[in-house]
């Protein structure tokens, strides 16, 4: 098992804390960031770009749905819960209803169990209470990277 990886299963032990710059991706993954807050949107894009991801961002749920409906494809979508025009829950539902199966992370400042259940029920794969840290992001990026065949 590589250093930094948890043992399998819940309550597994983390051997060492994840750090942000820990991995190098082989593939150019694509991501969409949906956040109504300027700073969070740009920060999350910046973090993903630091890993070599190609990113796009929108600041409301309606724009996110439109973008996906127009045919844009992403490996990863980060979406906030509270969004102008169309909220994150409804936007997520509509995106999933279009048959989009990519990894979706609900990244929100909400921390309650009720919010978590709601976001997961709407269709996000992972509920992340801000901040988006390396211990959540790195394993996901690694998993997405490995989905692509090695040359």
């Amino acid at each position: 098992m590589a250093p930094g990886e948890a043992n399998s299963g819940n309550g597994g032990q983390i051997l060492k804390p994840f750090t942000f710059n820990e991995i190098v991706l082989r593939n150019r993954l694509t991501a969409l960031v949906v956040d109504g807050d300027n700073f969070c949107r740009l920060l999350e894009q910046g973090i993903l770009q630091a890993y070599g991801l190609e990113t796009q961002s929108v600041d409301n749920g309606d724009a996110a749905v439109e973008l996906i409906a127009s045919g844009a494809k992403f490996d990863l979508i980060l979406i906030d819960m509270l969004l102008p025009i169309l909220d994150g829950l409804e936007a997520t539902r509509r995106i999933r209803a279009m048959g989009v199966r990519c990894k979706m992370l609900g990244v929100t400042a909400f921390s309650g169990e009720r919010e978590r259940q709601a976001f997961l029920a709407a269709g996000v794969d992972v509920f992340v209470e801000k901040p988006l840290g390396p211990e959540i992001l790195i394993p996901i990026l690694r998993e997405l990277d490995e989905q692509y065949p090695s040359i």
Partner: protein, 153 residues
């Protein structure tokens, strides 16, 4: 060489005290690790964006709380919620903690409590901004003197 060492020591001390006094947490350290030769100004840029965002949100809260004919607590709460998100994203833990308390006062529609929190948030944000600007100034001085920024840990 002496000058560089002195500056570096100051940088390390300032950095350590920011963490020790709870101004910043590990999230900030993680963001520092993303800075490299491809994005040499990443942290400064992120911090500037945060300050801009903070100022805008604090202004929103202030305006909403000033409404004499009835405060729209939902509006205040929306701004506090955003500030909670952005402060935790940069690792500004003291600001974030005030936001948590602030939201309770919004929920209770307690104007006095909200005003107190607004004051605290403004104060903490100013403190953090000053300290970070000092840190960034030290970084510039170190680089200008031909030294390197002490490693982040």
């Amino acid at each position: 060489m002496d000058v560089v060492n002195q500056l570096q020591r100051q940088f390390i001390d300032n950095s350590a005290s920011l963490h020790r006094e709870g101004f910043l947490d590990d999230q900030f350290t993680q963001l520092q690790k993303l800075q490299d030769e491809n994005s040499p100004d990443f942290v400064v840029e992120v911090a500037s964006l945060f300050f801009e965002d903070c100022e805008k949100l604090i202004n929103n809260m202030s305006r909403a709380l000033e409404q004499q004919q009835g405060v729209d607590f939902k509006q205040v709460d929306a701004s506090v919620h955003q500030l909670k998100g952005s402060s935790s994203s940069i690792g500004a833990v003291r600001v974030k903690n005030i936001c948590v308390a602030f939201r309770s006062f919004c929920e209770a529609q307690n104007r006095e409590g909200c005003l107190r929190c607004l004051q605290q948030v403004t104060h903490e944000y100013s403190l953090l901004k000053n300290k970070l600007q000092t840190l960034f100034r030290l970084e510039k001085q170190i680089l200008a003197a031909g030294g390197s920024i002490p490693g982040v840990e």
